[in-house]
């Protein structure tokens, strides 16, 4: 079986090398037949990678411990679900998943994005081949998932904290995001190589970019939720390098999604867009490098592995190569249109881009600081939370504000008088909200008041946009409000889907601010019968309860929660002691208040032998809006991604000459 897997990977590698070499030659010399066969090689490599993945999956399912990978990451007691998801529980499997997703994306993108034009497409194939070759090479020569050994009786098992439903969904989502950025990157490079620097490559990959970006966002929110409910320290994001590794390409991709609209509408920012997609793709490779090389201290720890230098080399190749290409094509990337006014839609997009990129780069600086300081001063130093929080506030709050301003400002040039009219209601709403917040005592955190006031401003301006659009549609069509509303969205999915995503970002900001700026934390050592108070809730400790399970002992503190005289229920924070793994895991208790959106978060910090508990209680107002934001984000992304027949027709007319089979 392992031989079949290895053979499939070697086949995949050979086909990808062929797609790279023959594809380049075909594009360079203009050989149509050769280009066709290079494209078929790309299809073939996908099939071969599917076979390799199936072999690994089958080995996992059969507990075939003659596969080193299976023995290292699973055991016989492990439930079937987690046994299968161990596919991406380790390095070799992760790389295989990467190649599988990449070749799948490559095939789908090449087959569906013909609108870009043949002369670009013939260059896209070898670019995709190059990236694929790298991963297939690693899988064949450096980190093979099909290494065999004398079969052992039982495997090493999976870390208890990975035995969790989030494990099944969080990593693949991130992969779909990381890897998906390859598609717009390859099309950008294809366009440059083919000297076709118009906006076609952007239009052709629009949905792919959007999908990759949405997956990356969802993957991160799932990771945050996992950390919140499972890891049990009361937070959801710790500015850990591994978390930052996913955030940076997402920020760069967010900037890209916005700035390409300017190129589509006004033909501006061509160089900037190409640089942004290089940055986003480079950061996604860098993220993989970070998590796979063990070069940086992280609370997530990874096997020190030999693939680090390979990755670094490949990142250098990609960055240097694409920058050289951009430089060589600079004359073609000159734009004819100029920014007409600093108060215009284009200008707000430009500000948004600069802020997003600045945020991504300051995070990058924080992440690589330990390496740099080690190299320069010989002593590693790390930047901590205050650094990241400072820049999140400095760049994030203006970004939040811009989300409310940008959509209401006219293209080209906006007059100040018109702006005053436009922003009257959102400004009034924000002002009222600010005063109300101060009156309600939210002034304890200045950042919090600013964030909430901005949030209200943005929500009001989004609501205004929907209301205006619906009213206009109703006047036009003479239909009812609901029909006008749905036809408004259906006629411009990208725009209104984008507004829904904006709303989700505001919800996210509200949730994060509530959970950080307005959090109350109380700690106390309680004997049975004693109580403590956190933000108005009284917690009475009633003693411990111990239960034996098949693989662990579960100790639970019984905590009764009262608000005033009202009994709110019994919550049971505690610890599980796993026998086989000889590990303790914190099991938190969370009381969701659906009415206020806040959480009471209980942690049994220490279980004492004299029967007392060290209880940590966190009151986190509005934190559930953060998870609601995730749902709204998915909804908004789906609206924007949904196939749109009207738009397809419009584009088909515009690019009628380009749809040619190769």
């Amino acid at each position: 079986m392992a031989d079949l897997g290895r053979a499939a990977l070697v086949t995949s590698l050979l086909l990808l090398v062929y797609a790279l070499v023959a594809g380049s030659l075909a594009a360079w010399k203009g050989r149509r037949r050769l280009a066709e066969s290079a494209q078929n090689a790309l299809l073939g490599s996908f099939a071969a990678t599917v076979v390799a993945s199936a072999v690994l999956l089958a080995a996992l399912a059969r507990h075939d411990f003659s596969f080193q990978y299976v023995a290292d990451h699973t055991s016989r007691e492990l439930p079937l679900g987690y046994t299968l998801t161990a596919f991406w529980g380790g390095q070799e499997g992760s790389l295989l998943l990467w190649l599988l997703v990449l070749s799948g994306y490559s095939v789908a993108a090449v087959l569906t994005a013909r609108r870009v034009g043949r002369e670009v497409l013939v260059w896209v194939v070898p670019t995709l081949g190059l990236v694929g070759t790298f991963f297939a090479f690693l899988l064949v020569f450096v980190a093979s998932p099909f290494a065999t050994q004398a079969a052992v009786a039982d495997g090493a098992g999976l870390n208890p904290s990975l035995q969790n439903p989030y494990m099944a969904i969080h990593p693949p989502m991130l992969y779909l995001g990381y890897v998906g950025l390859t598609v717009p990157f390859a099309f950008a490079m294809g366009a440059l190589l083919a000297r076709r620097t118009d906006e076609r490559w952007i239009v052709a990959t629009r949905r792919w970019t959007l999908a990759a970006w949405a997956f990356l966002g969802i993957g991160q929110l799932l990771g945050a939720h996992w950390a919140y409910v499972e890891i049990g320290w009361g937070g959801f994001y710790a500015w850990d390098p591994v978390e930052n590794a996913a955030l940076m390409p997402w920020l760069a991709a967010t900037a890209f999604l916005h700035s390409v609209m300017i190129q589509e509408k006004r033909g501006m920012l061509k160089v900037w867009n190409v640089l942004l997609i290089v940055l986003a793709f480079g950061l996604s490779l860098f993220g993989t490098f970070l998590t796979r090389s063990g070069i940086i201290q992280s609370i997530h720890s990874f096997t020190q592995s030999s693939i680090g230098p390979w990755f670094l080399g490949f990142i250098c190749l990609i960055v240097v190569g694409s920058l050289a290409l951009v430089f060589a094509r600079l004359p073609l990337l000159r734009t004819k249109t100029r920014l007409e006014s600093l108060v215009s839609r284009e200008a707000t997009f430009l500000y948004n881009n600069l802020l997003l990129v600045a945020l991504a780069l300051t995070i990058l600086w924080g992440v690589v600081y330990p390496i740099l300081s080690q190299a320069v001063t010989g002593q590693a130093a790390t930047v901590s939370k205050p650094y990241y929080n400072f820049f999140l506030h400095t760049f994030g709050l203006p970004l939040l504000l811009l989300m409310g301003i940008g959509p209401l400002v006219a293209w080209r040039r906006a007059s100040l008088r018109a702006l005053g009219r436009t922003f009257l209601w959102p400004l009034a709403a924000a002002l009222v909200a600010g005063i109300a917040l101060l009156a309600a005592g939210a002034g304890s955190s200045r950042i919090g008041v600013i964030a909430y006031t901005f949030s209200v401003f943005v929500l009001a301006s989004i609501a205004l946009e929907f209301a205006r659009g619906t009213a206009a549609r109703k006047a036009l069509g003479g239909v009812g409000w609901p029909a006008a509303f749905s036809s408004l969205i259906a006629r411009n999915r990208r725009r209104y889907g984008g507004y829904v995503v904006h709303a989700s970002v505001v919800l996210l900001a509200i949730g994060v601010t509530g959970a950080s700026a307005y959090q109350t934390v109380r700690e106390a050592r309680l004997k049975p019968g004693q109580s403590m108070t956190v933000a108005g809730d009284r917690l009475v400790f009633r003693g411990f309860q111990t239960r034996m399970e098949s693989n662990h002992r579960a100790i639970r503190g019984l905590v009764d929660v009262y608000r005033g005289d009202k009994y709110l229920g019994r919550y049971t924070p505690g610890k599980n002691q796993y026998f086989a793994e000889d590990q303790v895991s914190n099991e938190v208790a969370i009381r969701h208040d659906l009415l206020t959106g806040g959480d009471l978060f209980l942690i049994a910090d220490q279980v004492n032998s004299n029967g007392s508990i060290d209880l940590k209680a966190l009151q986190k107002p509005l934190v559930n809006l953060l998870w609601l934001a995730g749902l709204v984000f998915v909804g908004g992304s789906l609206i924007a991604l949904w196939p749109d027949a009207r738009e397809e027709r419009r584009l088909a007319e515009r690019y009628a000459d380009a749809v040619v089979r190769i």
Partner: protein, 129 residues
């Protein structure tokens, strides 16, 4: 096409300048990053540092009262330093584990900042990527 006076260029240039200014202000106010040291490098550092090492011996004491006492040794080397720590203790903390903790050396004892103890997962595992 007139190069001069293009507002986009102006905006970009000004923002780059603004970002640099913000950065300088930050580094001058907030000071430098915390150095990460091994126990053998501690001598001579009076300020706050992150200490990285391996837990040796049996941790004793109460992290929620007088403090948890343990020793940290260089991961590769014999030098060790006693540590006193208060606050939450991570699930994975125990003798033999690699940990990172912030604090200051005071009279030969590393006094940790409460709630800064972080354990590194055993390297056999590869948690989320």
């Amino acid at each position: 096409m007139a190069r001069r006076g293009n507002p986009a260029r102006l905006v970009v240039a000004l923002s780059v300048a603004a970002v640099l200014a913000v950065f300088l202000v930050y580094t001058s106010i907030a000071g430098n990053a915390t150095p990460t040291l091994r126990p053998s490098q501690l001598a001579g550092h009076a300020g706050q540092v992150s200490l990285m090492g391996q837990v040796i011996g049996t941790p004793a004491g109460d992290a929620h009262a007088a403090g948890l006492r343990f020793k940290l040794r260089d991961v590769k080397g014999p030098t060790a330093v006693p540590v006193v720590y208060k606050g939450s203790v991570p699930d994975l903390f125990r003798s033999g584990r690699d940990v990172v903790v912030d604090g200051k050396l005071q009279g030969g004892v590393f006094v940790a900042v409460p709630n800064t103890l972080v354990t590194k997962c055993p390297s056999k595992y590869q948690p989320k990527r």
